[in-house]
């Protein structure tokens, strides 16, 4: 009985600690979003500025010559904003403005917009040169996670 009570108390304490601390052990499980690419992409590391250049559609090809295909979650998906704010450290309307300029003044291709993370993973795995993102907790297969400086 006492043991059970102790167990419960411990759980409760752990839970509340995690709930209260934004940078605690538990939040690591839902860590920052991950940038993922098709396994054929040779690049393994990018800095944030390079990542911004890619998602702002300023660059057309990877260093190995493969065309870059930008894939993003629909802006309404809960995984979209954390990526833009925490990884790119940009404002959503700032990013959309870059896309609009590219799409509506003939500067290049717009991003591919997918409805959810399953579609994102499928698209990245199947499209050579594709780059996208998933939330930190999402399990993945057949894609490569990029190291962001």
């Amino acid at each position: 009985m006492l043991r059970r009570l102790l167990h419960h108390t411990l759980l409760l304490t752990l839970f509340s600690t995690c709930f209260l601390q934004s940078a605690g052990v538990c939040s690591e499980e839902s860590a920052a979003p991950k940038v993922i690419v098709n396994p054929q992409v040779n690049t393994v590391q990018l800095n944030v500025n390079q990542l911004r250049a890619i998602f702002s559609l300023r660059v057309r090809n990877w260093a190995n010559g493969q065309p870059i295909r930008v894939v993003v979650l629909d802006a309404k998906h809960p995984g979209s904003l954390p990526f833009v704010r925490e990884i790119l450290n940009m404002l959503p309307h700032q990013l959309h403005r870059q896309w609009d300029r590219v799409i509506y003044s003939g500067l290049g291709q717009g991003p591919t917009i997918v409805p959810d993370e399953q579609a994102m993973l499928r698209h990245i795995a199947n499209t050579p040169g594709a780059i996208g993102f998933i939330s930190g907790a999402t399990e993945y297969d057949n894609v490569q996670v990029l190291d962001i400086e």
Binding site: R60, M90, D100, R101, I103, G106
Partner: protein, 407 residues
């Protein structure tokens, strides 16, 4: 492909050789793009908007004193990465803005883009064809409602007599961008022949009652833009220079001469939390050399400040104050009225506009907007809809509503 079909249908604007050339260039590539292999290199997008305008006095975008729905825009575009370095793109635009020209369908842009340098930190390239001119923050996508800072652009600063010059032209262009540790710097410049129609001509000639012709028109448009990485601020310096020769019709009281118009624009935007502050300031000098016997110069200025509050991802409200003067040394327009022999009212020489608006964007596709203007002055009223200067009312109000869709 689509743009070729439309250009032959289009009887309002004579197709230009450059367009034909580009159509011929694009056709084989576009056919190749239809094959499964090329499919992912090809994309197409479009937009559609419908507006409603009601004014207390004066006509703007149709017979607006009775309420007008003559404000529609639609566009369809395609882009194709032919090779690693070559991009082909084109857009067909349909536009109806009251009686204002150009009306109907036309080729908005048709571009062959050759990327010479393409790295993660820097890029540069050349373009040829009908290009969108880089001018200020909004000129390149000015017909796409969702990209504007309101239902309509600040009229005095953007929708001016040089609209077509600062919009798109048959030209060659250079572009470049460079990633710095704190932001991105970009530079663009186009040189070519602007698309001049009767309305532009009328505006360039500042309402001169003439059947004369403009010849040898040429323009140079360029922009430097710096954008801070995290979107806190961006700033731009743009410049456009237009020149043409003028030949009066037989029997007119004007002489052959030259028109030179130079304009410079400074643009600034600052974002903090949910607030956005935007300011653009433009100087424009128009020289009429020899046309009136003596040389005449108008030194105009126009500027606006806008404050936008993003209440949520969907809702935003904004307020804007815009002033424009045909000549900064004649802000009340008295000299202008006297010069015209009092055939033009003094308030044709300026416009001061206060705008309040609300915007709802339930998704990336949809934009709904409502905007109210209080205006003192008639400088940017289209002459084609308000041909009799005596009817120009100095103080007027305008209500605009718009629904826009894009994909």
């Amino acid at each position: 492909m689509i743009m070729c079909r439309y250009s032959t249908l289009n009887r309002h604007i004579s197709p230009r050789p450059v367009c034909y050339l580009l159509c011929l260039l694009v056709m084989p590539f576009a056919l190749m793009a239809a094959t499964p292999n090329g499919e992912q290199n090809f994309s197409w997008h479009g937009f559609l908007s419908q507006g409603y305008v009601h004014t207390s006095d004066n006509q703007f975008l149709g017979d607006s004193t009775d309420g007008s729905a003559d404000f529609s825009e639609a566009g369809l575009n395609a882009a194709w990465n032919a090779t690693r370095q070559l991009l082909l793109s084109g857009q067909v635009l349909y536009r109806r803005a009251g009686e204002a020209k150009p009306m109907g369908t036309r080729i908005d842009y048709a571009i062959l883009d050759w990327r010479l340098h393409d790295q993660l930190d820097a890029g540069l390239g050349l373009r040829i064809g009908r290009l969108k001119n880089p001018y200020g923050f909004y000129s390149e996508t000015r017909d796409v409602a969702a990209t504007r800072p309101g239902v309509i652009l600040p009229e005095g600063t953007y929708n001016d007599y040089l609209r077509e010059v600062t919009h798109s032209m048959d030209s060659v262009g250079f572009y470049s961008h460079m990633g710095l540790s704190s932001g991105t710097f970009s530079m663009e410049a186009n040189i070519g022949k602007p698309l001049i129609n009767d309305e532009t001509k009328r505006s360039v000639l500042n309402g001169l009652p003439t059947q004369g012709e403009l010849t040898n028109e040429r323009a140079l448009v360029g922009r430097f833009l710096y954008e801070q990485n995290t979107g806190v601020w961006r700033a731009a310096l743009s410049a456009a220079s237009f020149s043409a020769n003028y030949e009066p019709a037989a029997g007119e009281p004007f002489l052959s001469g030259e028109i030179l118009a130079d304009q410079v624009m400074l643009s600034f935007e600052y974002n903090r939390a949910q607030w956005q502050f935007t300011s653009e300031y433009t100087w424009r000098n128009i020289h009429y050399n020899g046309i009136f016997g003596n040389d005449r110069i108008y030194r105009g200025i126009g500027y606006y400040n806008q404050l936008t509050y993003y209440a949520s991802a969907q809702w935003s409200i904004y307020a804007r104050k815009e002033d424009v003067y045909l000549d900064k040394s004649d802000k009340d327009g008295k000299a202008f009225a006297a010069e015209s022999g009092f055939t033009r009212p003094a308030h044709d020489a300026f416009a001061k506009d206060i705008t309040y608006g609300v915007r709802y964007q339930p998704s990336r596709s949809w934009t709904l907007g409502l905007e109210y203007h209080r205006i003192n002055g008639t400088n940017w009223l289209p002459r084609i809809e308000n041909p009799n200067p005596a009817t120009h009312k100095r103080y007027w109000e305008m209500l605009l509503a718009q629904a826009a869709y894009r994909f």
